[in-house]
């Protein structure tokens, strides 16, 4: 049973790893490398790896391996508590893996006289277990009680905690059960101790007192002379390969506290069940590792190392595409990026989880896999991706070194390529895209801008040219007036007497020979149209979207009309109307 399940788990693990690694080369979220074949990417990756290994950058790798992978400097910088948490789980688990799970393979071969029941192994195994449990407790505390704002836990996060906890707890219970088990004790006596009658009882007394064995024959008070003889027997037959059980402090404590249940556990063969739970949980974890968050134990170090030596400007685009899919596996959903996100606060007002970097990764995974995403969800993803100031903070703080900045840039263009209008393009958030426009296909670059402009201006509606019928006021117009009147800043529009000072001081207007033709309405005309509530006329005007908010109009207005603030309100209104139209489509 044990070896069959181990082999099965190992097989699933190996296939899983191969499958996952293949996805790094097969999938992409990088529109700039979509044309490169998987074979080309494998080749580029090998070339790149060799080039780094045989250059001075190899020493950078060494440094990063020691400081960031082993000592986890990046987590330390972010939070001492989280560093303690991760270090505990990491070191505890590694120790258990080497000195316990692989006991026969590694320490058994290296250290002569290795016995799992002998110190320091007996003690260290419990210490390692205690470390893992302490780390897990911090993790649970952080996710449930500490819970920083805008910090989400998903199923993957809990799955990992639960599976580790099951392995740990079952292990401790198992060892405790073995300690108190009378049949296990009897077996040891048969195997190792050549004792008869009085000596046998004495040894048993000694073990019941000191080793937490629960015997049906012996209970307190203990016979002092039996204890003395028992000690002699113990020294003669047992102590050489069995340290005192209390060194296994966690199991010993557990054994002591479940003493009354020992007989029942033994009769029901609970220890057997625990044994199955313990190794099966470990094997399930192993098999499932490549598909779970646990995969980060392999991929996060890779991400740290790769990002330490890869520079955006000089890297092969094929390798960037590959790295980005790898990075998706490296993410541990620790939430550091979100906690430090510059625009994370916007989530309090705009309920779109994709604003938050840690949740954008989830969207990236869906997009990489080419999953069918419904249009409304895709709009939310696109909006979340665009709502980013590209301040580089997330990349700076990511404990596993993911180049999130570049991830968002590529992902944004990847999603924009699907041709759904993104209205936030009309805001200053477009600066980053603009400053990087050399990297984007010029046609695609402009197309995205036009789509946004058109989405607000619309292609239908009441287009009016000079000489057509006079405008009629309808109920929609009252809505706009209501909105502008409700606000102490925007209701200043009623003071306007159309002196045109605003339009004359506007640098946008001054930029054109014939501004009416390009801009549709000039600022003073927008104010007049707003007075009449002619929202569709205003929304069509390029002036609204081409306003710089330089406040020259407002500063110069002799009537103190808050011209810029009114245009501002109108633009936001135009965008939200267009957004609703898009949703209803």
């Amino acid at each position: 049973m044990y070896s069959i399940s181990l082999i099965a788990a190992l097989a699933v693990f190996c296939i899983g790893v191969l499958y996952k690694v293949s996805t790094w080369f097969r999938y992409t979220i990088d529109p700039f490398a979509a044309h490169i074949s998987p074979a080309g990417r494998v080749q580029a990756a090998m070339k790149g790896t060799l080039r780094v290994l045989f250059s001075a950058r190899f020493f950078t790798l060494l440094e990063v391996f020691v400081l960031d992978v082993v000592l986890q400097r990046r987590i330390f910088k972010e939070s001492l508590l989280r560093w303690a948490m991760h270090m505990s789980i990491f070191t505890g688990f590694m120790l258990l893996l080497v000195f316990h799970a692989l006991a026969n393979q590694i320490p058994g071969k290296i250290f002569s006289g290795y016995y799992s029941t002998l110190n320091p192994y007996l003690f260290l195994r419990n210490l390692a277990g205690a470390l893992v449990i302490a780390g897990l407790l911090i993790a649970v505390y952080r996710r449930l009680a500490l819970k920083p704002r805008r910090f989400f836990s998903n199923v993957m996060d809990w799955q990992m905690i639960v599976i580790l906890a099951v392995v740990m707890v079952s292990g401790i219970l198992l060892e405790a059960g073995e300690m108190s088990s009378y049949s296990a004790y009897q077996q040891m006596v048969v195997d190792y101790a050549d004792v008869e009658d009085e000596e046998k009882i004495a040894l048993e007394t000694y073990w019941v007192k000191n080793f937490a064995v629960v015997s049906p024959n012996i209970s307190e008070p203990f016979d002092p002379s039996a204890l003395t003889l028992g000690r002699e027997m113990h020294l003669a037959y047992c102590s050489e390969c069995h340290s005192n059980s209390h060194w296994a402090f966690m199991s010993y404590g557990t054994a002591k506290s479940i003493r009354p249940l020992a007989g029942w556990m033994e009769s029901k063969r609970i220890d057997r069940a625990l044994w199955y739970i313990h190794f099966l949980a470990s094997f399930v974890g192993l098999a499932w590792l490549p598909f779970s968050k646990l995969f980060h134990v392999f991929v996060s170090p890779l991400s740290l190392l790769i990002n330490a030596v890869m520079k955006d400007e000089t890297s092969d685009p094929a390798n960037i595409a590959t790295r980005q899919i790898l990075e998706l596996d490296a993410c541990t959903h620790c939430g550091t990026c979100t906690m430090r996100c510059s625009v994370g606060t916007a989530f309090e007002e705009i309920s779109n989880v994709y604003i938050l970097p840690s949740e954008k990764i989830g969207a990236a995974k869906m997009l990489a896999l080419g999953k069918d995403i419904d249009p409304a969800e895709l709009d939310r993803i696109q909006a979340g991706l665009y709502l980013c100031t590209n301040c580089h903070k997330c990349t700076d703080v990511c404990p596993v070194g993911i180049n999130l900045q570049q991830m968002w840039f590529n992902l944004r263009e990847f999603v924009l390529q699907q041709g759904r209008p993104e209205l936030q393009v009309l805001s200053c958030l477009s600066l980053y895209r603009g400053l990087n426009r050399d990297k984007i296909n010029p046609e695609h670059y402009v197309n995205i801008q036009q789509l946004a402009h058109e989405a607000v201006a619309g292609t239908d509606g009441r287009v009016r040219e000079a000489g057509q019928k006079p405008l009629k006021i309808n109920s929609e117009n009252k809505i706009l007036k209501g909105i502008l009147n409700a606000n102490t800043r925007t209701n200043s529009l009623w003071s306007c007497y159309s002196c045109c000072t605003c339009s004359n001081s506007c640098p946008v207007v001054a930029n054109y020979q014939n501004p009416r033709q390009t801009l549709g309405l000039l600022p003073h005309q927008i104010i007049q149209a707003a007075k009449m509530g002619l929202s569709d006329l205003i929304f069509k005007a390029n002036m609204l979207r081409d306003c710089l908010w330089c406040y020259a109009c407002q500063q110069n207005c002799p009537q103190n009309v808050q011209v810029a603030d009114i245009l501002f309100e109108l633009k936001n209104l135009a965008i939200s109307v267009a957004q609703n139209n898009q949703k209803n489509k």
Partner: protein, 313 residues
């Protein structure tokens, strides 16, 4: 003897500088350090909300209010080297002070993060701190070099000046503080026609032709007035005059026009701050010509009065 002014501010950094204009951060830090001004980077500080203005007003207000509340919690005033951050913080502070309903709504949101906006934080632009808090005389006293024969087109930027009831840095129609700071370095702050106009940055990425057109007009105006360099104190203006101009190139029939330097670079050179902090070589247009105008001053540092004469225009 160097006079140190002990001051402490929470700093609101700009979201664009880490990627595009690191030299503005390092030069600002170096200049402020020179005068003993302590800047505290509060870890939780986020975006001022400026780009959210066009998306969701509440999100914009909350962003600035949160940063102000963070500074308030530490009992610090706030400094920023970005006009847009300055404008946003000032705008939000103004809105909250005039709209109590909005203020209580925002405070209810801030409470979830154990924060509270009470409007006690003074918001200062870097130029404000240099001009008002450190003072021209103190700065003059620390100059080790000055410029000679250098014509600077001083660019204020919109949100430092307008609207007056919100920004309040200087007279929005005929400001002089920034000019006086520029002239402190020995340079001449020349008069130029479109000095107070927008740089065009807000539309870069939205309507590139218009944005570049406005920038071009400004730069041409500065060139016509005889400027050797433009001088800015805002990341967006600087990026527009530097990176965007490099990207768009000058028109074939016209000379390239004056490159743009940050005020902290200009002043930093005169303060003798090491070049690695000033990062003048990081500007995308070649600004190395600036060094040709630099001369060693002969003034005695302990007597700043002795140089005030020849340096003042």
């Amino acid at each position: 003897m160097i006079k140190k002014v002990m001051m402490k501010f929470a700093i609101q950094r700009c979201c664009s500088t880490p990627v595009f204009l690191k030299q503005y951060e390092t030069s600002t830090d170096a200049v402020l350090r020179q005068f003993g001004v302590d800047v505290i980077d509060i870890k939780e500080t986020g975006c001022c909300g400026y780009p959210l203005k066009n998306i969701n007003i509440k999100a914009f207000v909350l962003s600035s209010a949160r940063n102000l509340a963070l500074a308030e919690k530490k009992r610090l005033n706030m400094i920023t080297f970005c006009n847009c951050c300055y404008g946003s913080l000032k705008h939000v502070d103004h809105l909250l002070k005039t709209d109590t309903v909005l203020a209580s709504e925002i405070n209810a949101k801030l409470k979830k993060e154990k924060l509270n906006w009470q409007g006690r934080v003074e918001i200062k632009h870097l130029l404000d701190v240099l001009y008002e808090d450190i003072g021209l005389e103190t700065i003059r006293g620390q100059l080790v070099k000055t410029f000679k024969g250098l014509n600077i087109a001083t660019h204020y930027g919109c949100h430092l000046l307008r609207p007056l009831n919100v920004a309040g840095f200087d007279n929005p129609f005929s400001p002089s503080k920034f000019d006086r700071l520029v002239e402190l370095t020995g340079a001449v702050s020349i008069p130029w026609r479109s000095k107070l106009e927008c740089c065009g940055s807000p539309l870069w990425g939205v309507n590139d032709d218009l944005s570049a057109g406005i920038t071009h007009k400004k730069v041409t105006s500065a060139a016509q007035a005889g400027a050797d360099f433009l001088c800015t104190a805002c990341p967006y203006c600087q990026l527009q005059f530097d990176r965007v101009r490099r990207m768009t190139g000058s028109r074939p029939d016209e000379p390239a026009g004056p490159p743009s330097v940050l005020y902290t670079q200009l002043l930093g050179l005169c303060l003798g701050i090491e070049e690695s902090s000033l990062g003048i070589e990081k500007n995308e247009m070649n600004c190395s010509g600036l060094l040709n105008f630099l001369i060693h001053t002969e003034h005695n540092r302990s007597d700043p009065q002795s140089v005030s004469g020849p340096l003042s225009p």
